[in-house]
Amino acid sequence: MFDWKWEFAWEILPRLVTATGNTLLAAGAGYAIALVLGLALAIAQRSPYRGLTFVVREFVEFIRSTPLLLQIFFIFYVGPQFGIRLSPWMSGMIAIGLHYSCYLSEVYRGGIDSVPKGQWEAAIALNMTTVQKYRRVIIPQAIPSALSGMGNYLVGIFKDTPMLSVIGVAELIHTANAIGSEHYRFLEPFTMVGIIFLAISLPAAGLIRLVEGRVRRKLGLK
């Protein structure tokens, strides 16, 4: 802290605040995509078509075991080769959404597996269609046990957004890097980014546990 300049820190704060907004926006949009796509992947893995189940299963494994950074590059650079031009934001959202949808599909899968067999049978006995069965019986009961996993990945997405800086999305790390190379000072921007991350992710984790507990109580679970 010998060289810390408060004036400089104050001067760059507004830019970092704007970047924090972008980071939160990226995390929120990525999470929204992941929530929807993840559910689709989870249900597809339970379909009676063996081929589909197998392909989706392998796809999820593949995405989960390769680096998000590489997937971001892949989506950003490979599109133009085939005439599809995506903006950095667009490709970033697709990459993060896709990556985390695979993690969320596992969370949903666990939740769906925890629904007692009698519920499935009852839905069939009532002559429900597949869509009705999932929408009215299975998913409402699967969500509560999936809640904690879903919350963890929200914080996880937030912490992975810095990777979007590599394709030029103006989130926190990208902005800190830019400030650093403009002023030849890296101490303040990078330290402040670290503090901003802590200041958001720690309370967020606490808040998620609180909401989770409340939802579970409301649904009469524990």
Partner: protein
């Protein structure tokens, strides 16, 4: 150019990059496991100061992202007079990050050892160090190995970030090849497959083998 021609032409660089990725992986894994054991044990200490420092470490490294930690270690630490070359900065950042996640697994594993084991060790007059080393830790290790398998995959994926401080790993080589040839689909596609092979056919089977080996050693198989 199809992907096979691509691999035939560029395999030396892909191989060199993969070698660097594997080196980063091993060094980060050793550091990560060591930190995880240390912090996990410290978090269970009855001394407030020791417990507090472990909690602080874990929360800082789990609360900020790996990329922030990597840049901080590489760009900011030199300002305090600690200059680390990029190779070391890479695996140190990844290892310290994974260590914080692993500490929670270690803590959970130790707490999962039945109470009777603790009491039995006490009854035969073992010192706390003997008890931990001979009775508790071996059983805790077996219990916590399955989640470590996932963490090791996360570790492998985490090493891709060291390319951003120019460590010449697989990710870095791929980016270089891409910017000189513009063969994006082939370059990034090949790298994706290599990472997948490393994760699915090397890391995961090794962790499975280790689980079985440890279980046999403990007479549980």
């Amino acid at each position: 150019m199809n992907i096979f021609d691509f691999v035939i032409q560029y395999w030396p660089r892909l191989l060199a990059g993969s070698g660097m990725t594997v080196a980063q992986f091993f060094l980060a894994a050793i550091l990560g496991v060591t930190i995880a054991l240390m912090m996990g044990l410290m978090k269970l200490s009855s001394n407030k100061l020791i417990r507090g420092s472990a909690v602080t470490y874990i929360e800082i490294f789990r609360g900020t992202s790996l990329l922030v930690q990597l840049y901080w270690i590489f760009f900011v630490l030199p300002l305090f007079g600690v200059t680390i070359d990029k190779f070391t900065a890479g695996y140190v950042a990844v290892g310290m990050n994974i260590g914080a996640y692993g500490a929670e697994l270690v803590r959970g594993g130790i707490l999962s050892v039945p109470k009777g084991q603790w009491e039995a060790a006490l009854a035969i007059n073992m010192s706390p160090a003997q008890r931990m080393q001979r009775i508790i830790l071996p059983q805790a290790l077996v219990n916590m190995l399955p989640p470590w398998g996932n963490l090791m995959i996360e570790l492998l994926k985490g090493t891709a970030l060291v390319s951003l401080i120019s460590v010449a790993d697989l990710m870095f080589e791929t980016k270089q090849i891409n910017s000189s040839t513009f063969l994006s689909a082939q370059a990034f596609g090949a790298a994706l497959v290599i990472y997948y092979i490393l994760a699915r056919f090397m890391v995961t089977p090794f962790m499975r083998w280790l689980e079985g080996y440890m279980a046999r050693k403990m007479g549980r198989a």
